[in-house]
Amino acid sequence: MSMSSKSTLTVVLMDAPFESARTTTAMRLLDIAARRGYDINVFAYEGAVYLPFARQTQHPNAVHGHDTAEENHPLPKDWVTALIAAAERNGGSIDWANCGLCVDERGADEAVEGVRRGTPADLVDFAARSDNTLVIPTS
């Protein structure tokens, strides 16, 4: 496919939030694709199903003497929401599927809007209809 035409990309995420630089890099990659208006599929499994977990909350940091607003702790669920909005704003889309088995194991069944429950079969489907697939595993 030409780089100038619209692409469909799939990214597979495994890392739980707040634990690895891989999450930041994955979000940066997705942000670039979203700004280009690509159609993006995300299959999140294992700990990554907590990336869009709706009950993430900011907190103060007593060690730094910061209240919640001053600390302004970034939350991955907000990044996911922003990515979905950026894709739509640029004429693309994000189909974010959280592995249902992994969700049930972890009680992570409250996700931000735009995230759906999926199965490993969704990953097969994503890969089959994408121009490319990148798997970002835990180390």
């Binding site: 496919m1 780089m3 692409s7 990309l9 630089a21 891989r22 890099t25 940066r28 990659l29 670039i32 694709a33 280009r36 690509y38 121009d131 490319n132 990148l134 798997v135 970002i136 595993p137 180390s139």
Partner: protein
């Protein structure tokens, strides 16, 4: 001939297999494939090492790139990276994914 992008996200100080992707890149290039190794996160530390695996990959014709964001995060100026490595951005990875290259995270 295939086109490969190998993403080197680790440094040998944290993972014994970190430089394997440079060896894989060299072998793929020697077989006639087009290969780039894109260093990101702690992988960019290898750009400063001049590690034998990195230099062997260079000699095999592998394109060597280091993520500018990861370099800045670690206070590494481009003057400190090996002359065979070029500073780049993650746009390169998305470009190559869109073009259909085989992109492998290591």
């Amino acid at each position: 001939m295939n086109h490969y992008v190998l993403i080197a996200s680790k440094n040998w100080r944290e993972a014994a297999d970190a430089n394997d992707c440079f060896e894989l890149g060299a072998k793929l290039a020697e077989k006639g494939n087009t290969v780039a190794v894109f260093m990101v996160q702690n992988g960019v530390l290898t750009a400063c090492d001049g590690a034998p695996e990195l230099l062997a990959a260079r000699d095999a014709g592998v394109m060597l790139l280091a993520d500018a964001f990861s370099l800045r995060e670690r206070g590494i100026s481009t003057a400190r990276i090996n002359e065979s490595v070029r500073s780049s951005t993650l746009d390169f990875v998305i470009d190559r994914m869109a073009a259909g290259d085989k992109v492998i995270w290591h």
